[in-house]
């Protein structure tokens, strides 16, 4: 078997495989339409709070804390379950809300009305004690 035969078989194989991919029409219309995010200054303020908190934790000892925010506000200790909502759904909802509240989430509204989101700042999230394992997903 010569090289050109293998090459032709490869081309045919790839094309046949690719032809099997059928994306439905609605999915084809999904596109990034707009981005919703919090004002930049709010994210910057939050980072200052984190930096101060990190410095205090490291024992650097800063005399004046410019701003503070209760830990419970950053990462709600209680899980408020809405009627008909499972604990998992409530957890995800609060997690997304946490990220959104602190400017760590960007929502992408797709043309079919769905919402995709991504957190561009997972490291900051971890510093804040937020579980950022799930950096991307779809809003429930």
């Amino acid at each position: 078997m010569n090289r050109s035969t293998v090459e032709q078989q490869l081309r045919d194989h790839f094309q046949t495989t690719a032809d099997r991919l059928v994306l439905d029409a609605r999915e084809l219309d999904v596109g990034v339409v707009r981005v919703v995010q919090l004002p930049v200054e709010r994210r910057a303020r939050f980072r200052v709070v984190l930096a101060v908190a990190a410095a205090l934790l490291l024992g650097v000892g800063i005399g004046v804390v410019a701003s503070s925010r209760p830990a419970s506000e950053i990462h709600p200790a209680t899980l408020d379950t809405l009627p008909g909502e499972t604990k998992e759904q409530a957890s995800q909802r609060q997690y997304i809300q946490c990220l959104r509240d602190h400017g760590m989430i960007i929502e992408y509204i797709t043309r079919d009305g769905g919402i995709r989101w991504t957190s561009p700042d997972a490291k900051t999230g971890r510093q804040a004690g937020i579980d950022c394992d799930r950096q991307q997903g779809q809003n429930p």
Binding site: R11, R34, T118
Partner: protein, 159 residues
């Protein structure tokens, strides 16, 4: 809390991210599908690639090349995760296509980078330079990957 709606210019201008998404989503999804064999996974990888492009738009010189590289990286990451899952004997519910072709079986035995290089050459018809950019490798490495990949396929098909 007031949220602001931002519509970055690069989303709507001609040649911007939205247009790029419309024109390149399907070809990139097909590339990911050939590399992963899963429609759902390939769609997800491509969507994420475009989100990364959006996030780094101002620093990207070649948006198509950037998305292609993101897709290739996404497929490699997927295969690494899948290999890990298989090592731990976790049953996968993923719907892989059943490829009835002999060459498909032979292809599946190749190392991931060889397989990707062959895909980018014989499916996407890319040059050595473009494949090198997608794989973060040198063109000479790409030529070597393709040469060794083809040799391995010939050997497998002849055996």
């Amino acid at each position: 809390m007031t949220e602001s709606v931002v519509e970055p210019e690069h989303l709507s201008v001609p040649g911007g991210a939205a247009e790029l998404f419309r024109t390149h989503r399907v070809p990139m999804a097909k590339l990911a599908f050939v590399l992963t064999g899963s429609a759902a996974v390939s769609d997800e990888i491509v969507q994420d690639a475009f989100l990364h492009l959006h996030a780094h738009w101002s620093q990207v010189d070649n948006p198509v090349g950037y998305v292609r590289r993101s897709v290739v990286n996404g497929c490699h990451s997927y295969h690494r995760r899948r290999a890990l899952e298989e090592r731990h004997a976790v049953a996968s519910a993923d719907s892989f296509v059943d490829v009835p072709f002999e060459i498909g079986d032979a292809l599946a035995k190749l190392p991931q980078r060889q397989r990707t290089a062959l895909t980018l050459r014989y499916f996407c018809d890319l040059s050595d330079g473009d494949i090198a950019a997608a794989l973060d490798a040198r063109p000479s490495t790409v030529r070597s990957l393709i040469r060794r990949g083809l040799a391995a396929l010939r050997k497998e098909l002849e055996s």
